[in-house]
Symmetry: C2
Subunit: 375 residues, 2 copies
């Protein structure tokens, strides 16, 4: 009995277009330790949008194909095409994480049938996902598939930030785009662990949202005196590491400058080389696709700007740390790591141009969940 | 008997000026382990110019004071003033390294009198420099003071680059502004140690200069096809670390992009996160004062851009490594680490506006030495 299902695919073409479509997939051969999961929940995280839509111009969308098998075509503006040159001719399955029920299994995994599991690893925007049992997380009773679909990307990233900061000797943290689901988790972790956190957001509503969950330091980068507020908050907390989801423009540079200003103000003597305080900016997202502009002469010499990505962090952290973090996620799944979804849509609906524009806007507090069984 | 001498001072003022002058200094109290050295040689390195002239507009120079005690006044363009805000009201002694003869000593160091020593630590553009004996390097016979004055900044930095690259697992190096004295040393070290080196320079003359000392990879960043040459040279050598003296603009970003392109071309499968190859850009200078512009989306996620400075490197490397590097500098002082001076000038002459313009131009192959006993 061959199982068949739809799978959402994103592809980049040499005519400068990005295309989204649903492909039929047949799940036939299974390794002894493999299971096939009927996907019932897969969140749309900002990191999913990076693969789904890449640098395409969302407003340029055209609908082709049939209503049953829609095909969306987008233009990629010429200056951004180089960044996806390696994707030309590649059809990518999308969806970092998901959860559902096991509906088929290889010979060594028959007892998994009927179990509900959480998964990570891509290709979750699909009716069916084949995965090795060692890569699936069995969901305890009382954990819904919607909860089980969000065990990794945001919770492990937020925990990973705090682990990284601690391992590298930092005692306080700066976070940008801090009103995101991830940002709210980070705020709760830091509050619980006693790690001072400077939250940077972009609107008064986002300030209120974070204050509402107990944040002590929330700055609005659109305030006219934002830069002086930043120096003050960083001096007060002693933050020397920042995690930045934005990446483009000068915000990262402003943060590093403020860290150096804080450190220099604690020095007794002027040094042309700046402070001895090591300042680290990690960029983990690309909400702004423009280049990062670093006014590095204001940083001194003890600084580093680096990419941060969950998978290499987990590999480097080792099994013991990962198990400890995973346990915490399960223990605090309805508190620290609760994700609130604005709306649940079907897999076909994900290709509805109007819905697509709604979920790609990355509006604060808005979060979409795909449930392929819904259509 | 009190010793007196002149000392070159650079100061920044709240009227937006930078001033250079010679101050009289009296060497009176000496600790038991201190010596006073009559400075006979102090090179003008690019890193000295950073403190000497800061971001001042050299063309704006006015001569004030007397012919015996000249005072040079420069304007600092308004947009650059913030970078030296911490220097306002601070008078800085200049000159990172030098050498000379011991003319006075504390009670425990009397046997040092008459010895020739090399020194590092600032304030070397002076007739006399007081220093602790443990910080002075006795010069062996046959080593001139001009040679002994350049034991640290360029040689230890060039060796430090190779040590850093090795310690962090890189097997080939990219270097910018590679025709400098430092760059020539690095080329000789890498050739001798079998470390592939991609040299980036800015003129055909500089290409010839490096080829003349045996460099295999020399790229002119002004060539129209520089970027494709860069990808080729980086792919060929497998370079994953760069040391950059320029800092401003997009060259560092171009290098990182080329490293990622090289790494991606070796991958079997497309990954939206880019290569697994860790790419490191160290910036150790500021030949271009403009902001650093990073097109980070072309780097993947495994990258870091950091400041690199000799003193923290030496502290981190530890005494054993430092001793090994120092020994190599002495062993190869007339070969790998030979410095060729274009001209030797007096301390007063360093404040001659025409001479100042000549030595601050940082022209390839041009290097000035200050000998305070000359005027």
């Amino acid at each position: 009995m061959a199982l068949t299902g739809r799978e959402l695919r994103s592809s980049v073409h040499d005519d400068g277009t990005l295309r989204l479509m649903l492909e039929d997939v047949v799940m036939d051969v299974m390794a002894p330790d493999e299971i096939v999961v009927r996907v019932e929940a897969a969140p749309i995280n900002p990191s999913d949008l990076g693969l789904l839509l890449g640098p395409a111009d969302v407003a340029s969308v055209r609908t082709e194909g049939t209503s049953e098998r829609p095909l969306l075509v987008f233009d990629i503006p010429a200056p951004r095409r180089a960044s996806v040159a390696a994707r030309i001719g590649v059809s990518s399955a999308v969806g970092n994480e998901g959860a559902g029920t096991v509906v088929a299994a290889g010979e060594d995994a028959m007892d998994w049938i009927g179990r509900r599991v959480g998964m990570v690893g891509g290709g979750m925007y699909a009716d069916l996902r084949k995965i090795r049992t060692r890569e699936a997380l069995a969901l305890p009773d009382g954990v819904t598939v919607a909860q089980g679909a969000a065990l990794t990307v945001n919770p492990m990233t937020a925990l990973g930030f705090v682990e990284t900061a601690r391992a590298e000797g930092h005692t306080a943290i700066v976070h940008t785009a801090a009103a995101s689901s991830l940002g709210q988790m980070l705020q709760k972790i830091c509050a619980s662990d006693g790690v001072p956190l400077v939250n940077i957001v972009r609107s008064a509503e986002q300030v209120d949202l974070l204050r509402g969950i107990g944040a002590a330091h929330v700055l609005n980068s659109r305030d006219p005196d934002f830069r002086s507020q930043l120096v003050e908050a960083i001096s007060e907390t002693g933050a020397t590491v920042a995690f930045d989801a934005i990446g483009g423009g000068t915000l990262g540079s402003d943060i590093m400058r403020a860290m150096e200003r804080g450190a220099v103000s604690r020095m007794k003597e002027y040094s042309r080389y700046g402070s001895n305080s090591f300042k680290q900016l990690y960029t983990y997202g690309a909400l702004d696709l423009s280049p990062m502009v670093l006014d590095r002469l204001a940083f001194g010499f003890q600084w580093s700007v680096s990419g941060w990505l969950l998978t290499p962090f987990l590999q480097k952290a080792g099994a013991e740390t990962v198990a400890r973090l995973r346990k915490r996620v399960f223990d605090e799944l309805t508190t620290t790591f609760a994700t609130h979804y604005t709306r649940t849509i079907g897999l076909g609906e994900a290709l509805d141009p109007q819905l697509l524009r709604a979920y790609e806007r990355k509006a604060t507090g808005e979060k979409y969940l795909i449930n392929p069984t819904q259509d």
